[in-house]
Symmetry: C2
Subunit: 367 residues, 2 copies
Amino acid sequence: MEGILATYRIVAADRAEAEARAVDVCIEQTVEVTPALCADPVIADRTVARLEGLEPSAPGRWDARVRFPEAVLSAELPQVVNCLYGNVSMKPGVRLVGVALAPSFARLLAGPRHGIAGVRALLGVPHRPLLMSALKPVGRTVAELASYAHAMAAGGIDLVKDDHGIANQACSPFEARVEACAAAVARANAATGGRTLYCPTVTGPADEILRRAEHARDAGAGGLLVSPLVTGLDAMRAVAATTGLPVMAHPALAGAFFPHDDHGISPEVLLGTLMRMAGADLVVFPSWGGRFPFTRETCARLDAALKADLCGLAPALPVPAGGMTLDRVPAMLSVFGRDVVFLIGSALYERSPDLVANAAYFRSLVS
Amino acid sequence: MEGILATYRIVAADRAEAEARAVDVCIEQTVEVTPALCADPVIADRTVARLEGLEPSAPGRWDARVRFPEAVLSAELPQVVNCLYGNVSMKPGVRLVGVALAPSFARLLAGPRHGIAGVRALLGVPHRPLLMSALKPVGRTVAELASYAHAMAAGGIDLVKDDHGIANQACSPFEARVEACAAAVARANAATGGRTLYCPTVTGPADEILRRAEHARDAGAGGLLVSPLVTGLDAMRAVAATTGLPVMAHPALAGAFFPHDDHGISPEVLLGTLMRMAGADLVVFPSWGGRFPFTRETCARLDAALKADLCGLAPALPVPAGGMTLDRVPAMLSVFGRDVVFLIGSALYERSPDLVANAAYFRSLVS
């Protein structure tokens, strides 16, 4: 057993059609040649993905287990993503619903460098649920954003992130913003004895992102926020490898991948398994009950994918978000347990004009 | 008029619902705060996207024209992509169907550096349709791939690319492959007086891709193939800016973005307008009549998006592909005209065991 075992849910009327479509996936996702050309034993035995199982999973739906050999994957994430869903994305009725790693392949991946335990250790919070808020909205000045960061840290929020769309706009340029917000959080930490981590958005040009990440680390950022479906999944891995800081994945663009149940990549594979493979220590996603239509069941599956055994890769923290309000904390605890980060944005600003008091109130809700 | 004017097709029962959903898009894609928090004039006037028009486009469908100010876009492509479809991807019934640039914003983008005229000039082919084939499949050795490249160039193929999944596998490591194939094409060119360009796949780790692109250029590659939806769209721009070579976009993962007409990003925006904005000189996409279900109409719209006026950005070459056969050349000419690259893969290998003769035959079909 080697490489990756991917499970595709395939729309087909009967087993014969399902098998033909599954074999087509094996060829399309690796050698991309006509069946005649991939009959050559050198190719057939070495680089064509192999169909290892095919079972009915629902009426008219079949789960095909497809093994990608390491000879094709090459231990580089872009090629892994390409193998898993590159070309077949353009064929209807094929959805990627599972990714399992062989131990030999998992060893080639760094996975989350900090994971749940590492992030908790950095924060000095071994047990209780973690709290996060966001500096927002885009359009605020550096001084305004830094004052919010200071207030949130002073009030006891564990993680303070930029809104993911606060990139490098003229109203709050990257370097000035990161330096001011990191310094503001450091001042608050010094005053309270707390360990709040500031996590700026480093999503940016491909030839800038690693420099931004290093600049943020050097300025005192304690973690980094990346939108890996915008930057490319591998950029998040590179940010983590380059800086050594915890990285948090934002789901921007993710919804393009799961428009309905017969296409795309399931939320738990895309935002769970693949994000862990690419090194995310924390993963933001829309919680049920907010302004996005994620269900409670999807959130539970995503939570499981972030924490399940994955050949030794560390588990990652779920960060349910998207219009969360303070009164939803108990309901979310029931799904995610204590290993969760509650991300409250607008609702923290709206409770009262006193952001420190709002943060302290939020902090008082979890113990 | 400034920034970007995006058109979203919105599912709504009536104008009131459509307008509410369109306003929600304006907020979600920029400031991400509750309506109360974005009422502050500083934010409302400066960074919230503006709804500039709303018209019914089909029963239960409304086209909303949304203006993104430059203050939010920041002239960085990752943020542009994020604004256009980041969060709203996770809400149902919102499809990005149009992107128009203000001249002031278009000037911030390089666009295709070579474009149709530049690629033709490099090839010395001013008028006729261009020809491309692919080195394949993954699993072939460096020597085998180089021999194919030599034969294709000797037979008169204009552009020889790697299969997009030939990345950095042990059977044909990146550097050795690119050096051997570039040298093989150079030998053939020297013998024939031709100007075939070899375009290797440079898709790879985020912290490697620019080095690979430069290595390929220095080894003699005449163009570069990137899968920008895997690497992040901006990595393609960076590859073009760093090397100065023509870049070709491969559509891997694209199908995730257009599963049905009420979600995602339309093929002509994703593979047409956005690819040009990110600097693609050539764009590969599935042609109708091949093994992917693109229609003739989709291909025609994509062709138009690659060639239409876009505030001074150069037009890019369509590369219809995906199971094309030699007999389909006339039908494709009727849609794409002469400014097209015919990409024939398996069918070129299958015609006979003599790849030089097969290439020469392919070449004889266009004039």
